[in-house]
Chain length 434, copies 2
């Protein structure tokens, strides 16, 4: 057991050499369990995961609980016009920009209890630990709970932090989802959609943005590394592919006469995998959605729609992969006598973590004797919005078997606590520095 791990297992551990306070690992666990009740399936347990979709009653109840804990930590929470929750702890120099850190508590349907929740509750734990020892920091500290990170509601993710970064789409507040207008949903959680502009923060209005999050992939667990240092959040290109063949009788249409849209879709799916794996690197490519029409065993498919999603830290790399897939798609269309349309439906730039902040995390972890490893984030996070306003970095902790967005999502309590002490140590170091 390293010193950091030892500290993490102690309740309100004493300062070690005056530099690295431990956190209350038992309280962190208890709060993760208490928060998990809001959105838990009827009759379920912690292991049954959570459905705490943004703007739902469960989300509102979870936010109320977190705000109660913020008040207990003397953070005096306020809800901005977009529905994000902020709480501030004063520094000794009120002219300095704060260190901002936090995450989100909304979930996907049938999600897990660690995605987002850990980053919020670890942030509170950092404040509580400083409070318990009456420690001061030079810079103010600011904890944030972002609204609707997952974007299940309104099919449009990372909403709250985008509002703060001034990245909302035109007309976004008039979106309708499940019969509810987004403006009304924002009001429901205490926001003020009619003055949404007031939620924006100026570039440079924080010293650094930090976020602790579960990895949601299996890299750290496989490597046995307790702390991941995120190099950046990947760029994402999504393509919609529409294949038109001709629906015909599966018994009476000879093989050479067919215009089989499903066969074309299958060949393209295989090609995406080949092309993405065909060169070195950590890029990923996924066909996750495929719709077939008429989708009957005895009818040759007349139509197929599928999505191709490509991710890498390099936007240029996935653009090239997209081109290569497009070229292959045209060959497949010719060979299968189908017509095929492939268009880029969305593009998200990558967000690179600040190198100095990455080093700050590594140094904090080193002081606590944690091994670290740099890795990209394949998933999107609120940190990518904050990259538009200033420096950001993220701390990852291992996800068992890389599972996420599932009730089976699991990060061991010890790893949760490890992440929290590294967050605290990094925040403390950044907040001491001018």
């Amino acid at each position: 057991m390293t010193r950091g791990q030892f500290l993490a297992t102690l309740a309100i551990a004493p300062f070690a050499r005056g530099t690295s306070p431990g956190i209350d690992a038992q309280r962190l666990r208890r709060r993760l369990e208490e928060l998990s009740v809001h959105g838990r399936p009827d009759g379920g347990t912690f292991a049954d995961g959570v459905s705490r979709v943004a703007f739902s009653d469960a989300d509102i109840a979870g936010r109320a609980l977190v705000m109660r804990w913020m008040r207990e930590a003397r953070l005096d929470p306020r809800i901005d016009a977009a529905g994000n929750i902020f709480g501030r702890r004063a520094g000794t120099d009120s002219k300095l920009e704060p260190v901002l850190f936090g995450s989100h508590i909304d979930s996907v349907p049938n999600g897990g209890n660690f995605d987002g929740d850990l980053g919020v509750l670890a942030a509170l734990e950092a404040i509580e630990t400083l409070n318990a020892t009456a420690a001061t920091t030079k810079r103010p500290l600011e904890v944030v709970v972002w609204s609707n990170e997952e974007g299940v509601a309104f099919n449009n993710g990372i909403y709250g932090s985008r509002a703060v970064a001034g990245l909302l789409d035109p007309g976004e507040l008039d979106q309708v989802w499940n019969g509810v207008v987004k403006r009304d949903a924002i009001r429901k959680i205490g926001g003020a959609p009619d003055r949404i502009e007031t939620a924006r923060r100026a570039p440079g209005s924080f010293h650094a943005y930090l976020e602790l999050h579960i990895e949601q992939g299996g890299t750290l667990e496989r490597a046995g590394t307790p702390i991941g240092v995120v190099e950046g959040i990947v760029a994402i290109d999504r393509y919609d592919v529409d294949i038109r063949g001709f629906a015909n009788h599966a018994g009476t249409t000879p093989m050479p006469e067919r215009k089989d849209a499903l066969l074309a879709a299958a060949e393209l799916t295989v090609a995406v995998n080949e092309i993405v794996r065909g060169e070195p690197g950590r890029q990923v490519g996924t066909v996750g959605h495929l719709e077939v029409s008429p989708n009957a065993p005895n009818v040759i498919a007349g139509n197929a729609k599928l999505t191709v999603e490509l991710r890498d830290l390099s936007g240029e790399k996935i653009a090239k992969l997209g081109d290569a897939i497009g070229q292959r798609a045209r060959k497949i269309a010719t060979a299968t006598q189908t017509s095929l349309e492939m268009r880029r439906a969305s593009h998200h730039d990558s967000a690179i973590a600040d190198p100095a902040l990455q080093s700050a995390i590594e140094q904090a972890a080193a002081r606590l004797n944690f091994k670290t490893q740099r890795l990209p984030s394949g998933a999107g996070h609120d940190a990518q919005s904050m990259a538009h306003l200033g420096r950001m970095a993220m701390i990852f902790v291992p996800s068992v078997a890389g599972i996420s967005h599932s009730p089976k999502e699991l990060t061991h309590w010890e790893d949760c606590a490890n992440g929290a002490v590294v967050l605290l140590e990094t925040v403390r170091a950044l907040a001491q520095t001018a």
Copy 2:
């Protein structure tokens, strides 16, 4: 224009050399158009096709209209216990077994106006033509309108003729579809499910069974051949494949760690096409149905289900193809780290058309100066039930572009009439012979 084609275009054409009466092509067309009204989409025309699913109100109305025409042709229709309609025209030797011929008038949803209807109305046309010239035949003639050939209702095809051949499944009459029990559906069309056994006919109880039908494939049209002589109805094997991978985040799961059920399904779909086309012959293989779960662009598919359907006149050949596909499936499962279960869900034997009857059709067509071509039927037909009781054969006419089970299904009026005169000529020849 051949002599047969010429005769087919005349209304009640005179006997030519006393052997080959023409049929009333105008009346055949008019009746196809009149029957098409029952099940036509609201506000539609003939070109909009028909939805005359068995046991529906449209089916009942269509049956009533056909029975009216049968009475006009002095066929005195009777409904058997299974709901099939039979009408008999006496021969000069009442001890001889009849020549049985007909088809069905039920359709798939959004089907066409020729599949089945042509065979029934051409059979009536044959009787009308004999009546008009007061021609006698040695053998009795019997026209049949089979119930629920398509099997859309109760997902279980070729029902009426299976009842006659004693091929119903145990408990089949207790099937429930759309909230209706099959017994009640049979009563609705005038059948008597409680004495369904009385619908059975003895082996050898007909001299021959003939059925005129549209090809539903493009072979005849491409070859420019007006009359097809069916060699047999193909055997069909259907396999259900269930692939279990692991649903995971499309951004955070490295390519080598994935257990992508959709990728496995795509590789199998490509393999089915390769294996089926990999050897000479007219066999066909189709993946027409594919379901993906959770089917989201940003989630690696955890589960995929698909069907593989194989058809050929040789049941042995498709059994071997199924084995080869199964072997490939196991390799794909290993390579994609998925588990894959493939099981044969159904098997239908092939039904071989009687060689002497095939020759009789060819000779009749030759007398009328029609070119013919032998071909397999890739689709199922009531004739395959009749093959269990005696000799059967089928006459095919061209389907434009091979389209069927679609409002775009089309057989030119001239081809309809050509088929009808060949049917009449064949029936006449078979009924004269002892």
